[in-house]
């Protein structure tokens, strides 16, 4: 029959073994983290970005590497999913992007702080997370049936990441009720109008719901050419 002394011995042996293995694996992990996370790419700017991330408790709403709260989107791959322009625009004035939707605190970040946060999120997007986040298995991939291959060739790279955040095109995108479908936009808007709109929506229509994006002239031209051809 098991005595109290026996069970104390079992407890001690099991616990010490488990702790020993855990400490060994932890030591090995700490040695391997720099490689797996590309620590050499971790710039001073990205480190400052991490401090901004922490000192404002961004994890209190967002998740990063899947850790945090579930009130706001997961940001591990946001740098790849959206675009630098999107992140900059969003951090400048979070409430401009999705008017009437869930609000983010307006932090009034300086341009330097926004640079730092962008570097931090860029670094995060490159860390090897053993396959997380997983490729969505049931995602509907729109086939080229509705969008001809010539269209996709001319499509500026930023279009999917930025415009489809609110608009839809060829059945793809996240339709917010106030954002028009862009499939035949060329029929109703000419190049001049589109250029003025993309430069500053407010100059075309007072209190426009679409925010002004910090887009370069070249990007605007590419987008105008592409959109005006959608007839």
């Amino acid at each position: 029959m098991l005595t109290k002394a026996d069970s104390l011995r079992i407890f001690a042996v099991v616990t010490i073994t488990a702790i020993f293995i855990f400490l060994f694996l932890s030591y090995d992990t700490l040695k391997k983290i720099p490689d797996q996370t590309n620590e050499s790419n971790l710039t001073d700017s990205a480190i400052r970005g991490k401090n901004i991330w922490e000192s404002n408790n961004c994890m209190g709403c967002h998740t990063l590497f899947g850790e945090g709260a579930y009130y706001a989107p997961e940001l591990t791959k946001v740098y790849l999913r959206r675009s630098e322009e999107f992140i900059r625009m969003f951090l400048k004035d979070p409430n401009a992007m999705y008017p009437g939707k869930r609000k983010m605190v307006k932090y009034d970040f300086s341009d330097g702080e926004i640079d730092d946060l962008v570097s931090f999120l860029k670094w995060c997007s490159e860390v090897d997370l053993n396959g997380f986040p997983v490729e969505p298995p049931l995602k509907k991939h729109v086939t080229s049936g509705s969008v001809s291959s010539s269209v996709s060739e001319k499509k500026p790279e930023i279009f999917d990441k930025l415009c489809l955040t609110c608009h839809t095109f060829g059945g793809k995108g996240n339709r917010l009720e106030y954002a028009p479908i862009l499939d035949n936009i060329g029929n109703i808007r000419d190049k001049d109008y589109l250029r003025r709109w993309l430069t500053d929506p407010n100059s075309v229509k007072k209190n426009a719901l679409m925010p002004k994006f910090p887009l370069s002239e070249t990007t605007i031209s590419e987008l105008v050419d592409f959109l005006s051809e959608q007839k």
Partner: protein, 445 residues
């Protein structure tokens, strides 16, 4: 009560009750924000509500553990605490640090690391406060003529919990390292050393409430905490699946966290085994209900609900979703909140010399309403989590589209929370009705 210094427990428990009621308020603020009513956004944005909700939980549980320890350790050692005034100082310091931290959160002063939001400057004060607490109890144990296994395990658990707070204070520049050390604290607390505190408090309550020989109880307590450490320590790996740490954690974490339910199942079986062999019928039925409830729901919440999403193949979909919130609510309630409430139910009538808690229908209502309430909340969280996994992780729909779909279940969550809140309010009502600790007989001596 046997010793004058045990009265300090009352004040720790009262602090716990106050913080618990505040925690509920912040929980409601968050649930309403999810439902689309974020009217308090300008004053209490979501991240403030969340940090406050979590930290209030930690502080009220710690305050409850400390209160219970200040009662249990003198009782077990059969001697007074070394200093009652210093114990009051320790309580006041704890409250001051807690209140400062919570006000700080509202002013954007924090560390912004999940569960460890308390700013660094206050971390040092926490350490000093915990050292004072451990010092007081440690000296009491050293000076005692007799020591029991239960009291030593309780002290060992509290001591290790204090020690494990330190890795959370390591500065890092790499987000992965940050996460790595954060789980040393959070995981090794709740799935490691806190279970020692749970186990020893449970053993103490069972000894008192069933009259079963402590040798039998303490023998099995060793086996249970051995299982806890075996599965819990290496089970830390389930936090290292997707944060930039090596792949072998998928295997180590998956295997050992699959064993974690066994430790909790052990606790459940142990409790029933002991209860069925009871040699006395203790009149404090309410304390027995909470004790057995704790044994059952800790297995369900921490054991079973933890297990269902711990395997890497499932966790890759559920990691970072409301499925985690489901598990979190049930396990903290079942394992830690209930053991604190069970201890309060057992200790309060002795401290206040008032048996109101035994006979009052309200204390029965408190038990059933809070448990039915939390179980319904957990079902709501589960549905929210499953729907979120399907829409977000499998279909990859837009964030706002998904949040619109989840709103109905958040309304269910709030209804369940209201039942829960009536239960907790009744508990606090009974607590207040019991009155203050009776120290008159000590004053005469």
């Amino acid at each position: 009560m046997k010793f004058k210094s045990q009265q300090i427990s009352y004040y720790f428990f009262a602090t716990s009750m106050l913080l618990l009621s505040l925690q509920l308020v912040y929980g409601l603020i968050m649930a309403f924000a999810h439902l689309g009513y974020d009217v308090l956004h300008e004053i209490i944005p979501f991240n403030v509500a969340r940090a406050t909700h979590n930290n209030l939980l930690l502080v009220w549980l710690l305050s409850g553990f400390m209160g219970a320890a200040y009662y249990i350790i003198p009782e077990e050692l059969d001697r007074e605490l070394v200093s009652l005034p210093l114990a009051f100082v320790q309580l006041i310091a704890l409250v001051v640090v807690g209140v400062t931290a919570i006000i700080g959160f509202h002013l954007n002063w924090w560390e912004g690391r999940k569960f460890l939001e308390i700013p660094r400057a206050l971390d040092y004060l926490v350490v000093i406060d915990v050292l004072l607490f451990l010092g007081l109890l440690g000296l009491t144990i050293l000076k005692a003529k007799k020591r029991t296994t239960t009291s030593l395990i309780l002290y060992f658990g509290l001591f290790s919990a204090g020690l494990l707070y330190l890795p959370g204070m390591i500065d890092t520049v790499n987000q992965t390292n940050d996460s790595f050390w954060r789980w040393w604290v959070v995981h090794l607390w709740v799935e490691g050393v806190w279970e020692l505190i749970l186990g020893s408090m449970l053993a103490f309550l069972l000894i008192k409430l069933t009259g079963v020989d402590r040798e039998v109880l303490e023998k099995w307590l060793y086996i249970i905490i051995g299982l806890t450490f075996l599965s819990g320590v290496l089970g830390t790996g389930h936090h290292y699946y997707w944060v930039g740490t090596p792949q072998y954690w998928l295997f180590v974490g998956g295997f050992f966290s699959a064993l974690e339910p066994l430790a909790f199942l052990g606790i459940t079986i142990y409790t029933f085994y002991v209860y069925n062999r009871r040699v006395i019928d203790h009149p404090n039925k309410i304390a027995i209900m909470w004790t057995i409830g704790c044994a059952v729901l800790s297995f369900f919440g921490a054991g079973f609900l933890g297990f269902v999403h711990t395997l890497p193949g499932i966790n890759i979909y559920t990691h970072g979703t409301f499925v985690t919130a489901m598990h979190g609510h049930m396990s903290f309630w079942g394992a830690y909140a209930m053991i604190v409430l069970a201890s309060i139910c057992y200790i309060m009538p002795i401290l206040t010399d008032n048996k109101f808690i035994y006979s009052s229908k309200i204390s029965k209502y408190a038990f059933w309403a809070s448990n039915i309430g939390i179980c319904s909340m957990v079902v709501s969280f589960g549905l929210i989590g499953l729907l979120q996994v399907y829409l977000e992780r499998m279909l990859d729909l837009d964030f706002f589209v998904i949040r619109e779909e989840l709103k109905f279940f958040f309304a269910c969550l709030i209804c369940a929370a209201i039942i829960f809140i009536t239960g907790i309010s009744s508990f606090i009502f009974v607590f207040i009705k019991c009155g203050l600790p009776k120290t008159a007989k000590f004053n005469k001596i």
